[in-house]
Amino acid sequence: MHFSGSQQIKAPAAKVWQFVLDPNKVAECAPGFKTMDILGPDRFKPTLAVGIGAVKATFTLDVHLEDVHEPDHAAMRARGSAAGSAVDMKAAMDLKALSESETQMDWTADVNVSGTLASVGARLMEGTAQRLTARFFDCFRQKLEAPEPSAAPATPVAPEASEAS
């Protein structure tokens, strides 16, 4: 499944860049995020609880950052497995400064889900995967545009996490 999107974020490009290279911040945007092991600057393992329809699975993803070209391009690939299911993903994003306080993010993602989740949730797969992927990137924007003190409520993340988990 191939998805892509574009969004304008009311934040300077440097701030956006910093955000997307911080695995802890990115992981919090991932659907059903539970825990995270950081193995190195470009390798980390988040655990995500994802459901499609009635089927739920907890994935441990092995994420590699690659092709990082500061200040405007980064890509990652991830592979994860859960009981009877697996996910393989490649994603890339490009940043473009629109002004000093506004940045455009263009992203693409290729997601392959295999196993029980794909078999049992086939009817819902494309729609769910697209929604979760779009929300993942949209969450960046929400977090970056949130008021400075990080007392920001977790509401932007919570609804999709509960729906997805």
Binding site: S81, G84, S114, G115, T116, L117, A118, S119, V120, A122
Partner: protein, 784 residues
């Protein structure tokens, strides 16, 4: 003596099924009902990928879970030489993979635990690392030179499994070159799943004191399984007992040996405890063997006035990753060559190529008598295609081309000798019953008003009862079948049969055969089957073979008993053996009806007062090797209405005239036909298994895999003609699959007929509302 007052109720009686009281009261004993002391439970880790290398399996977390006793992987089995097993088709199949998986949901490892739920939890704790490989999903692409290999373990570095053909290619080609008319049609018969209500499973119990392995197993062929188990494991065959208890539907899906049976047996040997394994519904749908999946290209040569002359067929058969169907050795494409159907043809040539793909094993015979469904669908669609092209009525074209009743025994262009038939009589009966002429008139009127109504015919010939030992074997074991009968002193009987019932009603119908032959009441006859320690050897129940083979053995064994009984009767009546005749279920002295003796008195005498030159007791066994197959047939007519707003096809009427020769129990035959018609409607309108490009099976639950319920099932109108088989001991033919084979083309022909005036010439099954609506839209007749 009360024999005279208790009715015999042999052949032709609608005796209520002896097995039903236990089923209706919830007292059936299925594999999952079996609980043995100390029994452990097994669950299976399955592959999410259709094609991948396995780089690591880490079971440590699962083994740390309290209640988990063992984890079994391919490496463990490999050390015991059991990582691979032979299939019933002479291929080999992974039990558990050592380093790679070849279809999604393939077994990867097994957990043995003290409770079912602990086992289910533990499989989620086993970490398996995969390296995905490109899956081979399309059988046509699989044959291209640059395709990845599904089975690099084989010597032949190709995805092609086998080529098989029948008929005369040169003669067929010559007719095609001269033909006035040639019609051509590609057909795809999609992959479907057996979906019996009971999934597969077993309880394996190794007794370490006796050194004996007992496996209660959802199998249709317990004896063959015992032999294969013995050959694979090296355990002596008398130390293996396979019990097939009550089985909740087989339909061909319970003929193959599934890895779970073998792993559970190994687990019992390893732990010293009985081990139960039962698939859940999604595992059953995703991983068990599949049926159909034939890509067919057919051509029919004919004259301008519709006389059929020759048939040419090329087929690609998608067999998945292992050739694990259970077709007879010489017939890798089953009996597909019966594709010339009920029609006289001068020549035919049919080719099938088996192909490996990254899907579970295909080619299982799902209620289709070894690929006859695919054959019948093809020829019945081709006859209609010819009629449509020539502007002729499909009933007329059939009548014109039928093999005539006086032409039997008839040798088909592909070499089958049809034993008997009367096709025009069956079609006439169906046409009268449904008022064919009236329907055509109604259709013309409706068409003028823009309403879509279609009439479809299928006049199929089945080929069942495999089979004669000179032609048929599975792994070398000839396809005879057997019966052993013992008459007790008080005139009751136990009959043990080599076949096995999965709902066919053998405990009733086989008792009726014995009742008829021996003149003893059906109530007093017990039929046992499915336990290899007690039943005589047989090849099992599938392909509508039970009545033609074991049914015949039962009659012949009973007749052997009757011949011995004649000697005892002569002794009792103080008459000469040659002076006795079997009349009205009794031996009587010719010309003296008053001097007679029944089987009940003879049975008592066989133990208390037998002549000096006769052994005591009254029993016999017969292993019956049928001289030929039997050829049931039928004429089905279906009327459909199509909703222009939704594309929904509604079966308004369906008349099924079946001929299965002499009938043992009309009620059971009717039940078989009702069930078969429903199971024929389902693939015609609803069922199909599909895969995405990554090899994920897309119908993992009954939400996506549509089975018909009472809501979708129309009222079936059944009738019969009777053309006895000339070679079967009591003239029967087998009926279990006739309706499943005959129904789909009747429905498909009806839908195409409803749309033929729009220029529609073919629709592949399943004919879903979506497919029909797209056609309606394309022709501008859809209602919004």
């Amino acid at each position: 003596m009360t024999t005279e007052t208790t009715p015999i109720r042999g052949m032709g009686h609608s005796v209520k099924r002896k097995e039903d009281p236990r089923f209706l009261r919830g007292k059936g004993r299925y594999v999952d009902d079996i609980k043995l002391p100390g029994m452990l439970y097994m669950d299976i880790v399955r592959s999410p990928y259709a094609h991948a290398n396995i780089t690591r399996i880490d079971a440590s977390k699962a083994l740390a879970l309290p209640g988990v006793l063992a984890v079994i992987t391919g490496k463990d089995l490999d050390e015991a030489g059991l990582a691979w097993m032979p299939t019933l088709m002479g291929d080999k199949q992974m039990v558990l993979p050592v380093d790679r998986v070849v279809y999604q949901a393939q077994e990867v490892a097994a957990v043995i635990a003290t409770e079912r739920y602990i086992a289910a939890d533990a499989i989620t704790l086993i970490e398996v690392e995969y390296e995905p490989l490109p899956p081979v999903m399309d059988p046509f692409k699989a044959l291209e030179a640059d395709s990845p290999l599904v089975r690099p373990d084989r010597e032949q570095k190709t995805n092609h499994i086998w080529h098989w053909e029948a008929g005369d290619a040169a003669q067929t080609d010559a007719i095609f070159q001269q033909a006035e008319v040639v019609v051509k049609q590609d057909l795809y018969i999609p992959r479907i799943h057996v979906s019996s209500i009971e999934t597969c499973g077993c309880v394996a119990s190794f007794d370490s004191v006796e050194g004996k392995l007992t496996v209660y197993m959802t199998t249709q062929a317990p004896h063959a399984i015992r032999t294969v188990f013995s050959l694979v494991t090296g355990i002596a065959e008398h130390k293996i007992r396979i019990v097939s208890p009550d089985i909740g539907g087989g339909f061909g899906g319970k003929v193959p040996v599934y890895p779970g049976y073998v792993i559970a047996s190994v687990a019992s040997l390893k732990t010293g405890h009985p081990v139960k394994w039962i698939e859940d519904r999604s595992e059953n749908l995703q991983a068990d063997s599949f049926a159909r999946d034939y890509h067919i290209s057919a051509e029919l040569a004919a004259t301008k006035d519709g006389a059929m002359q020759a048939l040419r067929v090329k087929t690609l058969a998608d067999h998945g990753a292992f050739d694990a169907a259970a077709n007879p050795s010489k017939f890798p494409a089953g009996l597909f060559s019966v594709i010339t159907g009920s029609y006289t043809l001068k020549a035919a040539h049919v080719e099938v190529d088996g192909v490996y793909t990254n899907k579970p094993s295909g080619g299982v015979a799902y209620r289709c008598s070894f690929r006859v469904t695919e054959a019948v669908h093809t020829i019945e669609r081709m006859v209609d295609t010819l009629a449509q092209q020539l502007g002729l009525d499909p009933a007329d074209v059939r009548m014109k081309n039928f093999i005539q009743p006086e032409a039997f025994p008839y040798t088909s262009p592909t070499g089958w000798e049809y034993d008997s038939g009367n096709y025009p009589a069956a079609l006439r009966k169906a046409m009268e019953k449904i008022d064919y002429a009236g329907l055509r008139q109604e259709q013309a009127e409706k068409r003028a008003r823009g309403e879509l109504m279609g009439i479809g015919i299928s006049t199929f010939t089945e080929i069942v009862g495999a089979g004669p030992s000179h032609t048929f074997d599975i792994l070398g074991i000839k396809m005879f079948d057997s019966c052993e009968i013992r008459v007790h002193p008080t005139g009751s009987v136990i009959a043990r049969i080599g076949v096995q019932s999965q709902g066919q009603g053998h405990e009733t119908t086989f008792a009726q055969i014995v009742a008829e032959e021996l003149g003893l009441p059906v109530e007093n006859i017990t039929v046992e089957h499915g336990d290899t320690d007690t039943a005589p050897y047989g090849l099992g129940t599938y392909a509508s073979r039970s009545t033609p083979t074991a049914g015949a053995a039962t009659a012949v064994a009973a007749r052997k008993i009757r011949e011995k009984a004649r000697k005892i009767a002569a002794h009792l009546l103080e008459a000469n053996v040659d002076d006795l005749e079997w009349q009205d279920y009794k031996f009587q002295v010719k010309g003296s009806p008053g001097r007679s003796v029944g089987m009940k008195e003879i049975a008592f005498a066989a133990y208390t007062n037998f002549p000096s030159d006769v052994e005591a007791g009254l029993e016999a066994v017969d292993y019956y090797d049928p001289p030929n197959l039997t050829f049931p047939f039928g004429a089905y007519i279906c009327v459909v209405d199509i909703d222009r707003g939704t594309g929904q096809v509604k079966i308004r009427r369906f008349v099924a005239v079946d001929d299965c020769g002499n009938i043992i129990n009309p009620m059971i035959v009717d039940g078989q036909i009702h069930g078969g018609l429903t199971m024929g409607m389902a693939p015609a309108l609803m069922e199909a298994i599909t895969y995405d490009e990554n090899g994920n099976m897309q119908q993992g639950t009954f939400m996506e895999y549509l089975l018909p319920t009472a809501m979708e099932t129309p009222v079936w109108e059944t009738d019969k003609t009777i053309t006895p088989s000339p070679h079967h001991p009591f003239g029967a033919k087998g009926v279990g699959e006739s309706a499943t084979v005959g129904a789909p083309p009747a429905i498909a022909n009806a839908v195409v007929d409803a749309l033929s005036h729009l220029g529609v010439t073919h629709i592949d099954i399943p004919i879903t509302p979506w497919k029909v609506y797209a056609i309606l839209e394309a022709h501008g007749v859809a209602e919004l």
